[in-house]
């Protein structure tokens, strides 16, 4: 039995992506925890930004991949794309939950509250609920093709939450700070920018690496299940013949 060409590509490049992620995260953590100055107003607490913002960016990037992949799946109906979408949804849910948790930890010393129903926080929570809904559809629906189709439609419909998340700090007066890096320019001190960029690149590479691993996991599980099912079928057929 030969393995799908996409999985062969994943096997070939995953080491480079994983190595790049490890390198960027090591340098980013060094810069973020040791090599960058404390903020003028927030002091040492600003270092939470180097973990919170990359997690949030990567979660949004992950959902973009999920929505794009879902549209691609509905067009091509390639099972390997479905495996990738299923994998990216679980990882995006994880990154979204962690972004919310680290944001809560940052909120306590800066806003003096763990949680507030701010537009950015609420729309980000909705994203987590959409992702959990996607994963529930994939679990509850028994028919694999139907589960893939329903999930893809839900993922595409849920994409409407992304521009709401992005523009929420501009559309509403919120407690959450506005974008530090946007089309209008960069409003962040250069000493704080370097670890933020390195950590964001590292977190995106880590997400890609985890996606490669999880896609293989789902693919291999399905392959083994299919093969075992065929073997079991042959076994029953031979029993019936004898």
């Amino acid at each position: 039995m030969t393995i799908h060409r996409v999985i062969r590509h994943v096997q070939r490049y995953q080491g480079w992506v994983g190595g790049g992620a490890a390198l960027c995260l090591t340098v980013g953590l060094y810069l973020g925890l040791l090599g960058s100055p404390p903020d003028y107003y927030q002091g040492e607490v600003v270092r939470i930004m180097y973990i919170h913002v990359p997690l949030a960016h990567t979660a949004l990037l992950g959902y973009t991949v999920l929505a794009g992949g879902s549209a691609w799946y509905l067009w091509k109906r390639d099972p390997i794309i479905d495996n990738m979408c299923h994998a990216v949804a679980a990882l995006s849910a994880c990154f979204t939950a962690l972004a919310l948790l680290t944001g809560m930890i940052w909120g306590k010393p800066t806003w003096d509250t763990w949680w507030t129903w701010d537009a950015r926080l609420t729309s980000f929570t909705v994203l987590l609920l959409i992702l959990l809904g996607y994963l529930m559809v994939r679990t509850v629906v028994d028919d694999l093709d139907k589960a893939a189709r329903y999930g893809a439609v839900l993922a595409i419909l849920g994409f409407v939450d992304l521009p709401i998340i992005h523009f929420s700090v501009e559309w509403w007066r919120t407690l959450h700070q506005p974008q530090s890096i946007s089309m209008r320019g960069v409003s962040i001190a250069s000493g704080l920018l370097a670890p933020l960029v390195v950590m964001s690149v590292g977190m995106s590479l880590l997400f890609s690496y985890m996606l490669m691993i999880r896609t293989q996991l789902l693919y291999l599980n399905r392959l083994l299940d299919a093969k075992k099912g065929r073997l079991l079928h042959q076994f029953h057929m031979s029993k019936a013949d004898s």
Binding site: M1, T2, I3, R8, A22, T26, L29, Y30, L33, L34, P38, G43, E44, V45, R47, I48, I51, H52, L55, C94, L98, L101, T102, I105, W106, K108, P109, L206, Y209, M210, I213, R214, Q216, L217, L220, N221, L223, L224, K227
Partner: protein, 164 residues
């Protein structure tokens, strides 16, 4: 090489790097960012530049704060410390404010000569955020990678998959 053995070697390297980073960070914070209480400064008379955490005692703040020249008393739980500050105009220097004074202790004059004033660091929140952000990802990645390695082993053993 055995897929599972490669998996454990890779994770051994990752753990070694992570442990090195943790030790380096802990050492840096202990050497450069460790803070003294006013009682410790008065009793131990530490040499060199140190950081002292305390609250500016009410009625002790005198001098020209906006010009960066002031004296005040920094109070801890069971002791207080006279501080002479000379440096850039501080934003956070006011009565009842808990802050960090950075400078040197003059044992002969019994005065702490501060050159800078900062806000109290919240290392607990920073440590908590990094642990919450990174540990679940590391555990998830470890579990998934191990499972994939086991699946490849199972496929090879059952002759479902031949390597190129």
């Amino acid at each position: 090489m055995n897929t599972l053995r490669m998996f454990y070697i890779r994770w051994g390297v990752v753990l070694a790097v992570a442990a090195g980073l943790v030790v380096l960070t802990a050492h840096h914070y202990r050497v450069h960012l460790a803070s003294f209480a006013p009682r410790e400064v008065a009793s131990e008379s530490p040499a060199g530049e140190i950081r002292v955490i305390g609250m500016v005692q009410s009625g002790t703040l005198t001098g020209d704060v906006s010009a960066g020249d002031a004296t005040f008393t920094l109070a801890g739980q069971d002791a207080s410390l006279p501080v002479a500050y000379q440096g850039p105009p501080p934003d956070n220097l006011r009565e009842f404010k808990t802050l960090v004074a950075i400078g040197t202790w003059s044992a002969s004059e019994r005065v702490f000569q501060a050159r800078d004033i900062g806000i109290v660091p919240n290392y607990g929140f920073v440590t908590g955020a990094y642990l919450v952000g990174l540990l679940p990802l590391a555990l998830l990645l470890f579990t998934m990678s191990r499972r994939v390695s086991l699946l490849y082993e199972e496929m090879k053993a059952s002759r479902l998959y031949q390597e190129d």
